[in-house]
Symmetry: C2
Subunit: 345 residues, 2 copies
Amino acid sequence: MSSRERAATLRLQDVAAAAGVSIATASRSLSGSPGVSATVAQRVRDVAADLGYVANMHARSLAGGPTRSVGLVVHEIGDPYFSEIASGVLGVGAREGLTVQICHTGRDPERELAQLRTLIANRVGAIIIAGSGLVDPSLQAAAKVELQAFRRSGGRVAVIGRHHLGVDAVLPDNTEGARAIAQHLLDLGHRRIAVATGSLSLTTVADRIAGVGEAFAAAGLAFGDVPVVEADFTRAGGKVAVEEILDEHPGTTAVMALNDDMAIGVLSALRARGISVPGQVSVTGFDDVAVAGDLAPSLTTVRLPMGEMGEQALLLALKEPGARPRRRTVGAELVVRDSSAAPPA
Amino acid sequence: MSSRERAATLRLQDVAAAAGVSIATASRSLSGSPGVSATVAQRVRDVAADLGYVANMHARSLAGGPTRSVGLVVHEIGDPYFSEIASGVLGVGAREGLTVQICHTGRDPERELAQLRTLIANRVGAIIIAGSGLVDPSLQAAAKVELQAFRRSGGRVAVIGRHHLGVDAVLPDNTEGARAIAQHLLDLGHRRIAVATGSLSLTTVADRIAGVGEAFAAAGLAFGDVPVVEADFTRAGGKVAVEEILDEHPGTTAVMALNDDMAIGVLSALRARGISVPGQVSVTGFDDVAVAGDLAPSLTTVRLPMGEMGEQALLLALKEPGARPRRRTVGAELVVRDSSAAPPA
DNA sequence: TTGAAAGCGCTAACAG
DNA sequence: CTGTTAGCGCTTTCAA
C-alpha cells in the first residue's frame, strides 16, 4: 500500500491554472474563505467541479485546515446494537460530508486506548465512543487524559452511555427502562425472577440493574435474593446464563436479559430444553434491536433509539463546544410483546 | 472541526531528540526500514513507545509513505449482512494496524461513485466494495474508470460479489447455494414455490435466481411459471412481497426469500396472518445471518461466511497485485432448519 | 482583492 | 550506518 508511485492526481495548482488565478485565491474560493470576489470564487468553483477536483485531505489537514473526518469507537460492529448506532452516525456523516472511521475495542480498555490514540493521530475532527463506560473510573483514566488533550487541541468528543470522561454524552435512560420492564414482570405476578447480564463492570449494566432494584423496592420486594448471572453480553452468553439459572434456580418464572442479544440466546436455549415461552418462563430483553419484533415469540423489551442515538452523538460533537459537558437523554420505552405473560399458576 | 489551534502533539522530531538521533534515523527505525543498526532502531522504538508517540498519518501520506488506511463501501451498515462483513474487515484491519473508513451507498450508484471519489481523495491504500454489483455494467462504468485510475496509481481494490469492475473479488457461490435450497424444497415435494427477492438489477439476485432455475431444470420442471416478486431487500420488503404472493398465488406452499432479512419479514407476515410455518407454508432465506438459527421456527437458509468474506477481501486487497484479477470463491452451504418441511397433503 | 512564500510532519533521496 | 535536505499539496500570514 505504498503511494509513492501515485500518478499525478488533480492538484489545487491545476484548478488554479485552469481558472487563471493563484493557488491562494483558488484555496480561498473553494473553502469559502472571505477575501475573494464573488465572481472569481464562483468561476474557480465551477472549474473545480468541471475537473472533478477533490482536495487532498492529508495536505489540507497537514496545513492546518479543517478535518472532515470523525472516528467512531464501538465494541463490535457485528453486534446489531452497535451497527444500528453506526448506521445513524454514517447517515449524518454522509449528509455533512464527513468521513467516518470505525474501530473495534472488543470491550478491552487497552485496545480502546490504542484505537483512541490512532484516531487522534489520524487527526479526526471528532470522536464518538459508542461502547458502554466502565464502573471503575480508573480503567478509563488513561483514555480520559488522552481525550482531554484531544479536546484542548480543538477535537470534539461525544460518548453514548455513561462514562467518566467528562465529555458531551447521549444518555439512554437505562435505569428507567429497566425499572419499567421489571415492573412489567412484577405486575404480571412474577416473583421468581432471574437476571442474565453482561459484565457487571459496565455502567450500562450497573444502571439497568439499579432500575430493576428500584422496581423491586417500589413493589416492597427484596432485590437481594434475585439471582444475577453474569456472562458475555452476547447470544452465547445468554445461553450460558440461562443454563445456570435453570440449574441453580429451578423455580424461576421469568428471565430478564439485560440486552436483546442475550435474550435471543435465552429464548434459544429454552426452546432447546423444551421450555415454553411465555407459558412456563417469561423472557425479556433490552435495546429492541431490529429483529426483536420478528422473533417467535416476539420479544418484550425496552426500546432504545439506537440510530437516533448515533445521530445525536455526532450532532453533539459537531456543535461548538460548550463550557460544560452537555447531556442529551433519550427515552427508553417499554415494548410489550409475546415473550412475557403471567407465570404458570 | 478546525485543527489550526491544535496543541503541539508529539512529533517525530521529539522522539528523535529523546533518542539522540536524527529524524531520518528515527523515521527508519519506526517504519522498520533497513539501514539502521538493530540496537539504535530498538532504542528509538522504545523511546517512541514510552512517549506514546503515534505518527501523523497525514504527514506520512503526504510525504509519500505507505497509507495504513482502507475504505469499506457497504449498502447499509445496519444490515446484518454488511455488519458481519464489516466485522471481518475491521478484525484483520486491527491485526494489520490499518484504519478502516466505512461508507454507505444506500444502493445508489451515484452515492457509491461519490463515496469512492472521497475515499480516493482521502488516499486510502485499499478499497473494499461489499455491496452487490449491478447486472447492467453501464451503471458502474464511471466507478470502474475511477477505480482503474486508483489502481494504476498504486491503490488496491477488492470487491465482494460479482461486479463488472475487473478487480480482485471474493465470490460467494450464490448460484450453487440457491440451487441447493431450491432443490431442497423440490425434494420435499413443493411444486408451488414463489420467490421473494430484492432488486433484479443486482448480480447477487440474478445469480441466485439462476440457481433456482437450475434446480427446476434438473427436476424437469418449468421455472417460467414461478412467481418472482420483487421488493426491497429488507424485512419490510419481505412483508410486502409475501402479501402479494399470498394474494395473487393463493396455492403457494413455499416462499423462497433471497436473503434472510426478507425471510424474517416473510415469517413475520405469515405469523400475523395466522399461517403456520412450515405446516402450511415453508420459508427459506439466504445468508445465514447470526440470528437465523434463533428465529422460531429457525430458518432454513444458505450459509455465507460473511465475516470470512470480509477478511478474505481485505487480505486479497493487501496482497501484491497480480497481473490479472484474482477470484476467491467461498462456499454457500445449505442449512436445513425448522422453517421448511413437506407441503400440506 | 489578489499573489508570493512559509511552513504543517513526514519520507526518501542523497551525502557523508 | 547515520544525518541533511528537498519536497508531498494545502492553508495562511504577509505584501503588493
